[in-house]
């Protein structure tokens, strides 16, 4: 009988820990002063987030267009032209393939970020302050991933440019005019 009782108490304790721990972990890092500040500046914070969302939209559209044109109208076309002329463009093809994969990732990450940002904006920061802050933290992480992806795209763009330079030096002694 006593074992049954003990087992019940243990189970109850484990359940309590499982329920309380994540809540505690989520709200970790947010002081009472910060909660008060968020509540006080709630309207301004929401307005700033909405402004960020509005500003991000054209930036994303423009960058996406440019990234796409670099991959589709420059990299792919040069690769095709080199292959048609029987040159070995395998390095260039690999880089442009990696670039296209990263561009896909950039779009996916931005979509996730946009959804999180929208969700954060629609969370009541006055009544649901801690949840709002947790969502804000997730949105920041998502924005970081978009930034990271944009940086990777830049790396691939540089890499491709350097490879074209090397290709020019290997096949035509002069190399490529760098402006």
């Amino acid at each position: 009988m006593i074992y049954k009782y003990l087992r019940f108490v243990c189970l109850l304790a484990v359940a309590a820990v499982l329920v309380v721990l994540p809540v505690h972990a989520q709200s970790e890092g947010l002081t009472t002063e910060q909660i008060a500040t968020i509540k006080q500046n709630c309207r301004q914070i929401s307005a700033t987030l909405s402004q960020i969302r509005t500003n991000d939209a054209p930036v994303y559209i423009n960058k996406n267009q440019t990234y796409f044109s670099i991959g589709d109208k420059l990299m792919a076309r040069l690769n095709s032209r080199l292959t048609l002329n029987s040159y070995d463009a395998s390095d260039l093809v690999r880089t442009s393939s990696d670039y296209n994969h990263e561009l896909q990732n950039f779009r996916t990450q931005y979509k996730a970020y946009e959804e999180l940002l929208s969700d954060t904006i629609h969370t009541d920061c006055k009544r649901d302050t801690e949840r709002f802050y947790n969502k804000l933290a997730s949105t920041r992480d998502a924005r970081g991933r978009v930034h990271e992806s944009a940086m990777k795209l830049r790396e691939f763009i540089s890499q491709y440019g350097n490879q074209v330079q090397t290709f020019g030096q290997q096949h035509f002694s002069k190399g490529v005019d760098s402006e």
């Binding site: 044109s69 670099i70 920041r140 020019g168 035509f172 402006e179």
Partner: protein
């Protein structure tokens, strides 16, 4: 009019409006169109196309910031020589200029300080 015709006519008249063929046809058309709209809206949002649609009402205020691209690109056919690579490089450098300089989607815009919730310096 024989008895069969009379019976048939009565059946036709007694049919309530909601069990008529015309009602089913209209209701069916509405249901099919609603399902198709729901599916297309799902695809529009899920594919990320909605984020690139500058004609959306939410984007009206920033439409002027969206650049109109008429970039033709590099010809995919023709000879390859030094001049070809030089031409490519000129186009490439021009096109990458707008994405290489700035620090897009940096975390600074969304920091505690930027949002006014940083109390460490207060």
């Amino acid at each position: 009019m024989n008895s069969d015709e009379v019976e048939h006519a009565h059946e036709h008249i007694d049919k309530p409006w909601y069990s008529s063929e015309l009602f089913f046809f209209i209701a069916g058309s509405l249901v099919v169109s609603l399902v198709l709209v729901a599916v297309s809206m799902f695809i529009y949002v899920a594919s990320g196309a909605s984020l690139l649609d500058s004609s959306r009402p939410g984007y009206l205020s920033v439409q002027k910031d969206i650049s109109d691209t008429t970039f033709k690109g590099f010809p995919s056919t023709g000879d390859v020589n030094q001049g070809t690579l030089d031409d490519f490089n000129k186009l490439y450098q021009k096109q990458i200029k707008s994405v290489m300089g700035d620090d897009v989607f940096s975390g600074a815009a969304m920091s505690d300080q930027a949002l006014g919730i940083d109390i460490s310096n207060e």
